[in-house]
């Protein structure tokens, strides 16, 4: 099990490193540094104006609880394990214990930084900065440790006590952190450590490795990796990223947009793919809303134009996998249809979606009465949409994938 874990971990880290390299390319790092600088500056300005009001403590505790909920059990389990390692279920507990320990690292670092970020707020709340931060970090780590125990035990369902739920833990963490910010974070630390020890003690009584819920574990790990890859997919192509499908019957009102004629065969397929696959419509709507809000808040016209271009480009890039989504369905290659129809149908759909997106983005500035900015968004977004659909996509699809 130890060898299995180390080889899995090495392979996992190698793959993640490869993707992270692609995500954090030069331009993105530059943008991040500027963004981080702006955020820190804004934060320092904000802190100088803050006074300890009644809502500040629960708000900070809520923020910390939210960061506490980040970070899931990285089980590194593969679907085939449920069949091949089934006879090894009991020893596999050792594998999962290692996985749990490994899963502590990243959230631990994040929580450490969160505590450091809260340090100036402790001063505002008249709490000793160093002792406060130190005890706060320990409290957060103890909570996270307990949280990951719960996540692990969730896959040993039969022995998980009824109160062993993440929601309850997060609620307790919120209450204890609020209390800690009222007097001293040492209270939160003591509570967290007590909770952690109580949990470990019960775990010691209940841990029965033979009752592992393999299918649940595999499904959870699949979901976690899927989320991770979808995030990477925002920046680069992730091969073999398969999303799910939802029926979304209420979207069937859009289906008559494509007439059912042989010339529209591909359009028929792409429209349904866009509406029902989980990876396209949701992302488009989310980015459209975020984009509209961001554009409503931004003032300089050149920045507005740049952001509109960026959002349309981002969404357009996300749509591209749809054009290649049907490669593995053999009928895609057998239908007596000219290849040009596929590219044409896809660019048409993409142009429609992106123009609609530009319209939604323009609504953001329009709500605040920024007529000029709205016009700029419409023009820049429209140019990007038409440019992508008329020029970039046909070229990209002509290249062999």
């Amino acid at each position: 099990m130890r060898k299995l874990w180390t080889t899995r971990l090495r392979r996992h880290q190698k793959a993640q490193f490869k993707y992270l390299q692609l995500v954090f390319n030069d331009h993105f790092v530059l943008a991040l540094i500027i963004l981080a600088g702006a955020l820190l500056y804004g934060y320092s300005q904000l802190i100088q104006q803050l006074t300890p009001q009644w809502w500040l403590r629960p708000a900070v505790a809520a923020g910390l609880t939210a960061s506490l909920s980040l970070g899931q059990l990285a089980a590194l389990v593969e679907p085939a394990d449920a069949t091949f390692l089934l006879p090894q279920t009991a020893p596999f507990g050792q594998f999962l214990l290692r996985a749990r320990r490994y899963s502590l690292l990243l959230p631990g670092a994040v929580l450490g930084m969160a505590a450091l970020a809260v340090m100036p707020l402790l001063v505002v709340l008249h709490i000793a900065a160093w002792s406060g931060t130190l005890t706060l970090v320990l409290a957060l780590w103890a909570f996270k440790d307990a949280d990951l125990w719960l996540q692990l035990l969730a896959h040993y369902r039969a022995f998980l006590p009824r109160w062993g739920r993440r929601g309850l833990l997060m609620g307790l963490a919120f209450v204890l952190l609020t209390a800690g910010l009222w007097w001293h974070p040492a209270i939160a630390m003591l509570g967290a450590v007590a909770l952690n020890l109580a949990l470990r003690w019960t775990v010691g009584n209940h841990f029965a490795p033979a009752t592992l819920d393999w299918l649940g574990l595999v499904a959870a790990e699949d979901k976690r990796m899927g989320r991770l890859y979808r995030f990477y997919n925002l920046f680069t192509d992730v091969p073999g990223l398969g999303g799910g499908v939802r029926r979304r019957k209420w979207l069937d009102v859009f289906l008559p947009l494509v007439a059912r004629t042989p010339a529209n065969t591909w359009a028929y397929l792409f429209l349904r793919g866009f509406l029902r696959r989980t990876e396209f419509l949701g992302l488009t709507v989310r980015l459209a809303l975020i984009g509209a809000v961001v554009l409503a808040l931004v003032e300089p016209v050149w920045l507005v134009a740049l952001l509109a271009l960026l959002f349309v480009y981002l969404v357009g890039f996300q749509l591209l996998p749809l054009a290649l989504a049907y490669q593995e369905v053999v009928f895609t290659h057998l239908y007596p249809l000219p290849d040009a129809q596929r590219t044409h149908a896809f660019t048409q759909l993409a142009r429609g979606v992106l123009l609609l997106l530009a319209g939604v983005l323009a609504l953001g500035p329009l709500m605040r009465g920024h007529w000029l900015a709205a016009g700029v968004v419409l023009v820049a977004g429209g140019v990007a949409a038409v440019g992508l659909a008329q020029w970039y996509f046909p070229n990209r699809l002509a290249r062999p994938a």
């Binding site: 349904r272 053999v330 009928f331 249809l337």
Partner: protein, 245 residues
């Protein structure tokens, strides 16, 4: 309509799996493609439907090839794959609709035929289901309905009987013989030799990517010099040859 393979050599990458393969599938006939795992049955079918391109030799339906008339060639073929593959975001009804659109079929004229087949396969009440909710056998039936609905001159079926219940096997064989009666050609790869012997008119026996023998059972018996043998016996003789070679 006749499918004609002439001296086809091909495979994955540069390594040839098929070596100088030649046989024909004529109108109004059921041809059984028989061979061990790895003999090249699925590879042959992939070449015919155009997923793989031959390194040398020609594959033609009448005088149409994939190079000269790709749409006309594809129009002539209906295909049921070994492993059912469906579009995960299309309902059963939409799969059939898409197939009708792709083959340019008249929807009003085709739906009654499709509905009759769906009734027969007990799928008529599942028109709004997604493939994710289908069992493997049900998916296979969807592919069968889609393929036979097109009434393409050549129907290619890869390992049709695995995963189907006995009732569905029976129904499929009815459809296959009906296609033959209507003048269609059927190429069927299978391991179920008893069924193949009962239904197919001629056989193509593949061994190591080459045609070992072709013809009906009588001519196969003559070629192997075993006058009383069943297809099963002939198959066993052929596999022994394979291990000696």
């Amino acid at each position: 309509m006749t499918l004609r393979l002439t001296d086809v050599t091909g495979g994955y990458g540069s390594l040839p799996v098929l070596k100088n393969l030649s046989f024909t599938v004529p109108d109004g006939a059921i041809v059984g493609l028989i061979g061990l795992n790895g003999a090249g049955k699925s590879t042959t079918i992939k070449h015919i439907i155009g997923l793989l391109a031959p390194q040398s030799g020609t594959i033609a339906i009448d005088d149409k090839t994939l190079a000269t008339d790709p749409d006309g060639y594809r129009q002539a073929i209906a295909y049921v794959p070994e492993t059912p593959v469906l579009y995960q975001e299309l309902t059963l009804k939409e799969h059939l609709e898409l197939t009708m659109m792709a083959y340019g079929l008249d929807q009003a004229a085709t739906w009654p035929k499709a509905t009759a087949m769906l009734d027969r396969f007990r799928l008529a009440n599942k028109l709004d289901w997604f493939p994710a909710n289908f069992s493997k056998g049900m998916k296979q039936k969807v592919m069968i309905v889609a393929a036979f609905m097109t009434e393409a001159p050549l129907t290619i079926i890869d390992e049709p009987f695995t995963g189907l219940d006995p009732l569905a096997v029976h129904d499929l064989l009815d459809l296959v013989t009906a296609r033959r009666a209507a003048g269609g050609a059927v190429l069927m790869s299978t391991h179920i030799l008893a069924t193949a012997e009962q239904y197919a008119d001629t056989f193509v026996l593949l061994k190591d990517g080459q045609v070992r023998a072709t013809g009906d059972v009588a001519s196969l018996r003559a070629q192997f010099g075993l006058p009383e043998a069943s297809l099963d016996d002939l198959y066993l003789v052929m596999t022994k040859e394979a291990t000696h070679a």
